[in-house]
């Protein structure tokens, strides 16, 4: 299921590959093919490799090979797509994805606060109202539960709405509609009505936006049956996930980080010592930590899981480090026999996010914390 979404993402991206912005300036044309071609990940069964088995830590000299993880070795070396890529920022990537889908399917429409002539609070819908009209890029009054409800009704009548929350925290107001209707009506109607709605918005800790605008709500949404949830972390996967979510027949919740560092490059190389699972903004912290770890002689493997509901356990494989307790329990359940060490879960402190920049930084998992956790695990 998550594989289907990833494969759809991949297929959709292969026609217009993007580069990620940053010092690596990589062409990730190979990634789609590798994701699409992936059957069972070769990460899964690694019982001989000895994860974190202490003093036998094998060193592998330094360079991170910036390809998507979970590739088959031959796919990663295949040539990139024939079409040239172009650089985009994340919001531009989201916009490109949205624009393409709106051009392709007249049923796709956008609704949210300030999405119309203002172009969106984060400029994701900039220019779209001029192109598609006021009705298809609809400005709504301030009532999240209600415009989400409106999106549900429109979806049940055959449209494919994209509901933009100005901040995922505001979608707490929409939680009733999302959990009681979005995820549910397809089921309770006996399959008579589908709700192909996409609910998207930025979330998580940004840059001093205050406690109310820094909520991390993934776990709340993960407990809603019938909902799909994805988190993008690079312009590349943002565009693909946006398109895949719009085309999906299920209700989708698409999170994006409020604040991303640049220079993340591709995912890490397959590693032998430890698997680090991450998503959204944390990807960049993890990549930095991974660099440090490699320099210290460790061999970490980084996976950006992207799909938060359902989890892509296929890709994830064995021993892991992860952020949310939910994934941890799923992994323990599935892969207990393959774990050589207890799973360590790093996440922000259980406090409202403070405003002062220094304090805020301390609530977010920093690369140093990741490095230390890996070191502790591998002792």
């Amino acid at each position: 299921m998550a594989g289907a979404l990833q494969a759809a993402t991949a297929a959709l991206l292969s026609s217009t590959p993007l580069k990620t912005y940053g010092s690596y300036r990589l062409r990730l044309g190979s990634a789609p093919r590798s994701l699409a071609g992936r059957k069972g990940s070769f990460l899964v069964v690694r019982s001989d490799a000895g994860f974190g088995s202490g003093s036998n830590a094998r060193t592998r000299p330094g360079k991170l090979i910036p390809n998507a993880v979970a590739t088959k070795p031959d796919a990663s070396s295949s040539s990139t797509s024939s079409k040239p890529g172009h650089e985009l920022l994340l919001f531009e990537a989201l916009r490109e994805g949205l624009d393409e889908e709106m051009a392709r399917d007249p049923r796709v429409c956008v609704m949210g606060e300030d999405v119309g002539h203002y172009g969106g609070s984060y400029k994701v819908t900039k220019g779209l109202a001029d192109k598609y009209g006021d009705l298809r890029v609809l400005d709504t009054p301030i009532a999240e539960n209600s415009f989400t409800g409106m999106g549900i009704g429109a979806a049940m009548t055959g449209l494919r709405p994209v509901v933009e929350g100005m901040n995922m925290g505001f979608l707490l107001l929409a939680f009733n509609q999302i959990s009681n209707n979005c995820g549910m009506l397809h089921y309770t109607s006996g399959g008579q009505f589908t709700i192909p709605i996409v609910i998207r918005g930025p979330g998580g800790v940004g840059r001093q936006l205050g406690a109310e605008h820094s909520q991390r709500l993934e776990s709340y949404f993960q407990s809603i049956p019938g909902l799909q949830m994805v988190a993008c972390s690079t312009p590349y996967n943002a565009k693909g996930l946006m398109k895949a979510a719009i085309r999906s027949e299920n209700s989708s919740c698409a999170l994006r980080a409020l604040y991303l560092l640049f220079g993340g490059g591709g995912d890490g190389a397959p590693g032998e010592h430890v698997t680090i699972l991450t998503y959204s903004r944390m990807r960049y912290h993890v990549m930095q930590a991974a660099k440090t770890l490699v320099n210290k002689g460790y061999d970490p493997e980084v996976i950006d899981i992207r799909s938060l509901k359902p989890f892509d356990l296929y890709t994830i494989g064995n021993s892991i480090k992860k952020h949310t307790p939910r994934l941890q329990s799923a992994i323990i359940k599935e892969f207990w026999d393959y774990l050589d060490a207890p799973i360590k879960c790093l996440s922000s402190q259980d406090v409202p996010t403070p405003y002062a920049g220094t304090l805020e930084d301390c609530t977010v998992v920093q690369p140093a914390e990741i490095v230390k956790a890996v070191e502790d695990l591998c002792k």
Binding site: L135, S146, T148, I152, A154, L159, Q177, G190, Q228
Partner: protein, 436 residues
């Protein structure tokens, strides 16, 4: 039929209407000029348009001098009120309306009894609101999309949902269109354009706005109609949905069944406004109050509302005053919070079905014998339907896991596998009538 919403082929042709209103409000930077039309009245430009000035310190009263009056066609004895402004209903429609009201009444009685006998788990009656259900449905076309609360099965009945289908749903058997996944009375039928009932109060109101929005986009010659009670008007969703519908100019009828009670909360404790109708103007919505126990009045009001909604592409609010003559549901005993004689009064003297009956009898279209036959036939058909529904198999186990997503994902497949294995190993712990 009135032309459908919007002009031209491209959605952008709708831009002018919305755009102009928007421009009107972005004059902030400009003139704060004061024009003197008259030495006593000054007019000023603020965002939102011109307003007259007044030097009088005067507050608007919290309630109007008089309550908004109630539109009525038939008096309490089933006679047309002479000054009444209404549209004549064709005989076949008029008779179908009565027949369906009787069917709804009978259905309610028998299903209620079935619940009391333990044959179904739960039921909600529509007693006292038969005219609202049937007459409003009769005034709509099959293309109009209905987004109900839960006390409007009569609309489904009018559209052709059979007694057997009602029974199948309430028994949750394999022929239920909802596949046995919901409580009784949570009907839904895609092909009859009736959205599946969702228990949450008032969540359907913004859904209806979304439906109307879709109809407007597709330029359909149809409207959306949503029903809710007096209690539902307190929810935030009610407020926002009405506001949205007005701003977005979509063809939706908001039908409030003001039946006096939200479980045990009377309207005096629900709001302090003059019912729901008075609020329409606050949102910029044309509204009407109608006698909900007068089938002809309801028919006329909805008919007119539909015309306006579609031809002018605007929302309309209809408040039907009525009385919830039954309990809230089978889990309620309303004699605990309201006097028995009040309930009896509304069940008898103010019954909408017998009032309408007097009118059709007065036209020479009905008599006692036909009445007896109808009631006995409906009752017989219902009992047979119930018996058949009770005997029918429940939905198969696989249906527990389908329709959560468009395709069954691997985690659910595993869960199904585990469940099947468990049932196989411990059959005694599971109900025998679920087909595996």
């Amino acid at each position: 039929m009135a032309p459908s919403c919007g002009t031209g082929n491209h959605p952008s042709s709708l831009i002018p209407r919305l755009f102009i209103r928007r421009l009107g409000s972005i004059k902030a930077g400009e003139s704060l000029s004061q024009e003197c039309d008259d030495s006593n009245f000054q007019v000023l430009d603020f965002p939102g348009g011109k307003v007259n000035f007044s030097s009088e310190l005067r507050f608007l009263s919290e309630s109007p001098l008089e309550r908004i009056s109630c539109y009525r066609v038939l008096d309490d004895y089933g006679q047309i009120i002479s000054a009444s402004n209404f549209q004549q209903v064709r005989k076949e429609i008029a008779l179908k309306m009565y027949s369906d009201m009787v069917t709804l009444q009978t259905m309610d009685t028998i299903f209620y009894e079935a619940q009391r006998q333990g044959r179904i788990s739960f039921y909600v009656t529509t007693i006292g609101e038969e005219a609202i259900n049937i007459a409003s449905a009769a005034a709509l076309s099959i293309d109009d999309i209905v987004i109900p609360q839960y006390r409007e099965p009569g609309v489904l009945l009018w559209r052709g949902f059979t007694l057997q289908e009602f029974a199948n749903h309430n028994f949750g058997n394999k022929y239920d269109s909802g596949k046995g996944r919901q409580m009784p009375v949570h009907y839904g039928c895609n092909k009859l354009n009736y959205f599946t009932v969702s228990s949450t109060i008032a969540t359907q109101i913004p859904h209806a706005v979304g439906v109307a929005f879709a109809l407007k986009m597709d330029k359909k010659n149809a409207c959306a109609i949503t029903y809710f009670g007096d209690g539902g008007t307190s929810e935030g969703d009610f407020h926002a949905a009405l506001n949205f519908a007005a701003v977005m100019e979509v063809p939706v009828i908001f039908f409030c069944r003001n039946n006096g009670w939200a479980i045990s909360t009377p309207t005096t404790e629900q709001f302090r406004s003059d019912g729901a109708v008075i609020r329409g103007q606050a949102y910029g919505i044309r509204s009407i109050r109608v006698d909900g126990n007068d089938a002809l009045a309801v028919y006329n009001a909805v008919h007119a509302a539909r015309e306006m909604a579609i031809s002018e592409c605007r929302p309309i609010l209809v408040e039907a005053l009525t009385y919830r003559a039954g309990h809230h549901s089978t889990s309620d005993d309303s004699t605990k919070y309201r006097p028995l004689d009040e309930i009896e009064h509304w069940r008898t003297a103010r019954d909408p079905v017998s009032r309408y009956r007097k009118w059709i009898e007065g036209n020479g279209w009905w008599n006692d014998e036909v009445e007896l036959n109808l009631r006995s036939n409906v009752r017989k058909e219902l009992l047979q339907a119930i018996q058949a529904a009770e005997k029918t198999e429940k939905p198969a186990l696989a249906e527990l896991f389908t329709d959560v997503y468009d395709q069954v994902p691997s985690n659910l497949r595993e869960q199904e596998k585990l469940l099947r294995e468990t049932i196989k190993e411990h059959p005694g712990d599971y109900p025998p009538d679920v087909p595996v």
